[in-house]
């Protein structure tokens, strides 16, 4: 069995609102990634996927707070560690983050090269400015980025270039886990493709040991990641391989996500587009039963009362629904 780079057990984090209410945006989430693999996390806006990304780094600041659970990176448990130790020894070196708004991710008044210096010095690595420069130049060249971008401000770079520079800066310390939060959503298709290719190359060449790719477009993940996990209202509702998730989604929500976007793949491109009715529940007061029950067309009265557990059906496949797999598949088949 391959070495597990990231293991997360029952991680729960919450936001504390200004009124002092707790909002559990990541609710008992468990996941793992093997070395060299990538995991996609999909879900609509407000489902907790970005919060999960932030929570996975083990570094919390208001309004986000850690509640319980474990994060183990390459055998090292980082949950419960002193925040300053996490900052120095985990962020950037063990886990790195590519933000949602990568277009404005860099300080507009600092040159890219200077910013890289700041990152390295923050980890108290014994390197001179010349060594950092050399390392950054080598890395940029390796990733196919122009070396003179180091002497530019981020505002002087084009959108796609800025995004790729941010990825290069994030991974400058060769982290074990790379977490990308919608890194391509603000880009045109060409730049999007370049960004995704760059990230896949980094994984394939071992520059990063594993990757989490977060997006609201489930079908996009098909070509990007090995596994896909779907989140809803702070919980995992389904996980499987990319192929399984795209061609055989089990959970009604996963199926709804797949059917709400046009997918060019053979076998899925002929389906009729349907929207998922309603909006996600307010997590200040989560529903007692299944969190998706209110929007689920297959919901029974008991769904609103009984909260279904995450079921493991073998082969790394899990889903959270009170209906058996066979029954769901039958219902889906009768619809098509």
């Amino acid at each position: 069995m391959a070495n597990k780079i990231l293991e997360v057990h029952e991680l729960t984090t919450k936001y504390i609102t200004r009124q002092g209410e707790d909002v559990y945006s990541v609710d008992h989430v468990s996941l793992d990634i093997e070395e060299g693999k990538s995991l996609g996390i999909a879900g609509e806006s407000g489902c907790g996927k970005s919060t999960l990304a932030l929570s996975l780094m083990g570094y919390y600041f208001a309004p986000l707070h850690y509640t319980s659970g474990e994060i183990i990176i390459d055998g090292k448990n980082i949950s419960g560690m002193d925040p300053d130790v996490v900052r120095k020894t985990v962020l950037g070196t063990e886990v790195a983050y590519i933000p949602q708004a990568a277009m404005n991710a860099m300080n507009p008044t600092r040159k890219v090269g200077k910013f890289i210096e700041d990152v390295i010095f923050a980890h108290e690595l014994k390197m001179t400015k010349e060594e950092i420069r050399e390392m950054a130049e080598q890395r940029f060249a390796k990733l196919g980025l122009p070396v003179d971008a180091l002497d530019k401000y981020s505002v002087e770079l084009s959108g796609g270039m800025r995004q790729r520079v941010v990825i290069a800066v994030s991974t400058i310390l060769s982290p074990k886990v790379l977490i990308a939060d919608e890194p391509s959503s603000a880009l045109d298709v060409t730049s999007q493709k370049m960004v995704i290719k760059m990230m896949k190359d980094m994984l394939n060449t071992g520059l990063v040991k594993s990757m989490i790719f977060i997006t609201h477009e489930l079908p996009l993940l098909y070509n990007v990641t090995d596994d896909i996990m779907v989140m809803y209202a702070g919980q995992i509702v389904e996980r499987g391989t990319a192929h399984e998730m795209v061609f055989d989604p089990i959970h009604p929500y996963s199926r709804g996500l797949m059917r709400s976007i046009l997918v060019p793949e053979e076998g899925t491109r002929d389906v009729k587009l349907t929207a998922i009715p309603g909006t996600p529940p307010n997590l200040k007061h989560p529903p007692a039963g299944c969190r998706f029950a209110d929007r689920c067309r297959y919901a029974t009265p008991s769904c609103k009362v009984v909260s279904p557990p995450l079921l493991d059906i073998g082969g790394g496949r899990t889903y959270r629904c009170s209906m058996p797999v066979e029954q769901l598949r039958e219902v889906y088949a009768s619809e098509d």
């Binding site: 120095k88 404005n104 991710a105 507009p108 008044t109 600092r110």
Partner: protein
């Protein structure tokens, strides 16, 4: 200097020249639109009670000739331009035959010595308080911001009068008016310098007080905006220390504040008017105030010209400085 930069500065200079010419013309015309005849008031003051109508007429004609007021408006304008270029700005009407350059030369240094430190101190304190309020939120924000807002809402003359009444009239901690004790002759003696320092306090703090408020409010909102910027979160998740990030934030939040500083330095002379009149401080503001009262056109025009030129220079320098401290502006201007 890149090609884009040269083009940018050429365009800037062109517009500054246009603005300058327009300002010079306005500086000449506007004082002359004021009601009141400067010669009449001078003659009225100087003439002996028993003078005949003819003698009065003679006097008026004499002064009008001396001041060049018997020429037509274009002739007067030409005189004004000539005098501006030879640096004397002509002869003062109310203090005839003193040169305008002499009046300004003796008062401008009082203004600069009062205003420049006051503006700088007010700017620094205001930015510091604003940054603290944004960063510490809780205490500073709740306690300090209402206080600074209160002071920034007081009009300049109000703050000066309050200080005057409280500290000079009631508490008698500071002298009421002037720049030094009456009867003293300016010298480098300890006595004179301590007198100057004592007289300096109230006008100085009245300017500081009102400028703190505006700066603090601006700096606070800029800092809060920058603290929530995407780059702050990103830098945090790359493991950069909060101390360093705070430096990023305040450097970026300061950028618009630099504009405020340059503008208040440029408008220094105009801003001096209120504090100087209330404390009878012998600066340029006082000279201008006296000149306006006696329709002393050459002095008014010279003062307003100084204000115009200072504002123009300040905004020109600001454009240059800004391009170097903010790469976003540079990218937008020079491409």
């Amino acid at each position: 200097m890149t090609k884009g930069m040269r083009k940018y500065f050429k365009k800037k200079i062109f517009w500054f020249v246009i603005t300058f010419i327009a300002a010079v013309i306005l500086n000449f015309i506007l004082p002359r639109l004021m009601p009141g005849d400067p010669v009449n008031s001078i003659v009225g003051k100087n003439i002996s009670p028993g003078a005949t109508q003819e003698q009065v007429q003679e006097q008026i004609a004499y002064y009008q000739h001396q001041f060049g007021l018997d020429k037509d408006i274009f002739g007067q304008f030409w005189d004004f331009v000539k005098n501006a270029f030879n640096g004397t700005f002509g002869v003062s009407y109310s203090q005839y035959p003193r040169l305008v350059s002499d009046i300004i030369g003796s008062s401008i240094w009082w203004t600069v010595a009062l205003q420049l430190p006051a503006i700088l101190v007010g700017w620094l304190l205001g930015n510091l308080l604003g940054a603290l309020a944004a960063y510490k939120r809780s205490f500073y924000d709740k306690a300090l911001m209402p206080v600074t807002l209160f002071f920034s809402a007081i009009p300049a003359f109000g703050a000066a009068v309050i200080l005057l009444v409280v500290f000079a009239v009631n508490l008698k901690w500071a002298p009421v008016n002037g720049a030094f004790d009456p009867g003293m002759i300016p010298s480098f003696s300890w006595k004179f310098i301590s007198s100057v320092i004592a007289h300096y306090q109230l006008p100085f703090w009245s300017i500081v007080l009102i400028s703190i408020g505006g700066q603090a409010v601006g700096m606070r909102s800029m800092s809060i905006y920058e603290l929530n910027a995407d780059y702050v979160k990103y830098a945090r998740f790359l493991g950069i220390k909060d101390k360093k990030i705070v430096r990023y934030v305040f450097r970026n939040a300061m950028l618009p504040q630099v504009t405020g500083l340059a503008m208040s330095i440029g408008a220094m002379v105009g801003g001096a008017l209120v504090a100087e009149t209330i404390f009878s401080y012998p600066g340029l503001g006082m000279s201008m105030y006296a000149a306006i009262n006696s329709s002393d056109y050459p002095v008014i025009s010279a003062c307003t010209l100084i204000i115009t030129v200072m504002v123009l220079i300040a905004s020109f320098l600001l454009d240059i400085i800004y391009a170097f401290i903010d790469p976003r502006v540079k990218a937008a201007q020079f491409d």
